[in-house]
Amino acid sequence: MAETRTLGEFLVERGVSRRAFLKYSSYLATLMALPPSAAEAMAEGLAKARRQAVIWLSFQECTGCTESLTRAFSPTLEDLIFNFISLDYHHTLMAVSGEAAENARLQSMAENKGKYIVMADGSVPMKDGGVYSTIAGRTNLETLHETAKDAFAVISVGTCAAFGGLPHADPNPTGAVAIQDIVKDKPVINIPGCPPIPDVMTGTVAHILSFGKLPELDDLKRPKAFFGETIHDRCYRRPFYQRGLFAKSFDDEGARKGWCLYEVGCKGPVTYNACATLKWNGGVSFPIQSGHGCLGCSEPDFWDKGGFYRPLPTPLASVREHVTEAAAAGAVLGGAAAWLARSQQNAYKSETKKPEEA
């Protein structure tokens, strides 16, 4: 359905004052570490924004990303903005199903050619012609190619879409790959996380709506505003890390005192996300605060990094395995060298002439 009102008009209708709207824009700008002047620009941009068509494609996913996104404790401006978006296709959220649903997608693609955003969650299986995930009898690969063709941008939501996630984990039986491995000719934004923080998803979309372009991305195509720092650098338990106070196991003295969880496998130092600042469930907590180390869920292959409880400074693979062989080989060569030296010496000794009698 074509929406002719701007977002600004829409919000006014819903009783949101201009003051509240400006406050929200400041909040968004601050969140994304944009300069103060950006707040006004964002406000103006958002106010003028036309309804954005979004096609949400779900592939090999658990629907956790959608669940995260739709967590709402009370109606927030984010919800309103999201309502402002024309979510023309979403397996879980849309009313229709079957052929009607597919037609809705195709129609949106045609009406918003070159302007719609594709948001995808879940990885795409490639093995055996991609038969391991199909919708309406068509493989995910086909659907993705078809839908991304005329899109303005593609946003990979969740680690599965961004990097392959759980299906991609060893042994990857379905040959799962990330969206960016398939979509090569369109701007791609990765919003990883298992699931991503709701504010991160909405904030990114709000940025696109306000400024009409993609936010600054890091080399893994993640918005720097939310993925520019590690958990470790913003973790409230950092002073304990510095002082060398660690929980050695769950529920020991250190754990109960809230010490650093490095030794029970926290991947905070190598994980880029906003959990330590934005937190979850409306800022209530995040895994470390609740006593469990960071899983590193917004990083590629986090399932295959040796285990959630294997601390960072330990080898990933077994070192012991080859040590016996190495020692045996060394012993053989050492013994051979000594034997060679000894034989050489004995040869020299037997060469010595007998001393003449005085």
Partner: protein
């Protein structure tokens, strides 16, 4: 596989295997050579070889008074470096975790901030050592490539470790990967250069200690 995975995975496996291989080769190649026995009668009661070896090692930890002044740099800087490195390697929590993953043993760590300071001191002592080697006529005559390579593979872990904790130059995971890779390099070089003195010093001191003690003299 990103750099950190390579470092923590195959790089560590391969380098530690090479380390074990090389050290075993070199040590056995020495220990299996013929051992010379002194058949002459000792002065006084024959000292137990083990006691003589231990005594020699203990005495060699401190230079004779008459040598202290002339060798004060090697003596002091040598200890600053070795003790500093030992503190960093064995009393820093992440390192203890690494050792625990290999050997199953663990012990309490020092406060990490303190270890950072010691690490910085260790770095300076390494640089001082190099400067001394470059400016001493004696050392310039007797030094060889091995001395510089061994210095470099020892410096890199200390330097990359410090870089990793101050997080300068690259992202943390890259610095951590480089730190681990520098340790791999250290392990690979170890058996083939003068770093082996870590294993041979004990017997080298011991052999002379046994010889001199047998004669009623001291090392």
């Amino acid at each position: 596989m990103d750099l950190l995975e390579v470092a923590r995975g195959p790089a560590l496996q391969v380098s530690l295997a090479i380390f074990v291989f090389g050290v075993t080769w070199r040590l056995l190649g020495l220990l299996l050579l013929p051992w010379r026995t002194d058949h002459s009668e000792p002065r006084g009661t024959a000292p137990s070889a083990i006691v003589a070896v231990l005594q020699a090692n203990l005495r060699k930890m401190w230079p004779h008074k008459t040598f202290v002044r002339a060798t004060v740099f090697q003596f002091v800087n040598g200890y600053v470096f070795h003790v500093g490195l030992a503190i960093v390697v064995f009393l820093f929590a992440p390192h203890i975790l690494f050792i625990k993953s290999l050997f199953g043993v663990t012990w309490p760590a020092l406060p990490s901030n303190l270890v950072y300071a010691v690490g910085a001191i260790t770095l300076f002592s390494l640089i001082a050592g190099l400067l001394h080697r470059l400016t001493s006529p004696v050392l310039q005559l007797i030094s060889r490539a091995d001395d510089y390579i061994s210095w470099l593979v020892t410096l890199l872990p200390v330097a990359t470790g410090l870089l990793a904790i101050i997080q300068v130059g690259a992202r943390y995971e890259t610095l951590l990967a480089l730190h681990i890779l520098s340790i791999c390099l250290f392990f690979i070089w170890f058996p083939f250069g003068k770093l082996m003195h870590a294993f041979t010093f004990f017997l080298s001191r011991g052999a002379t200690g046994v010889r001199l003690k047998h004669r009623g003299a001291q090392i």
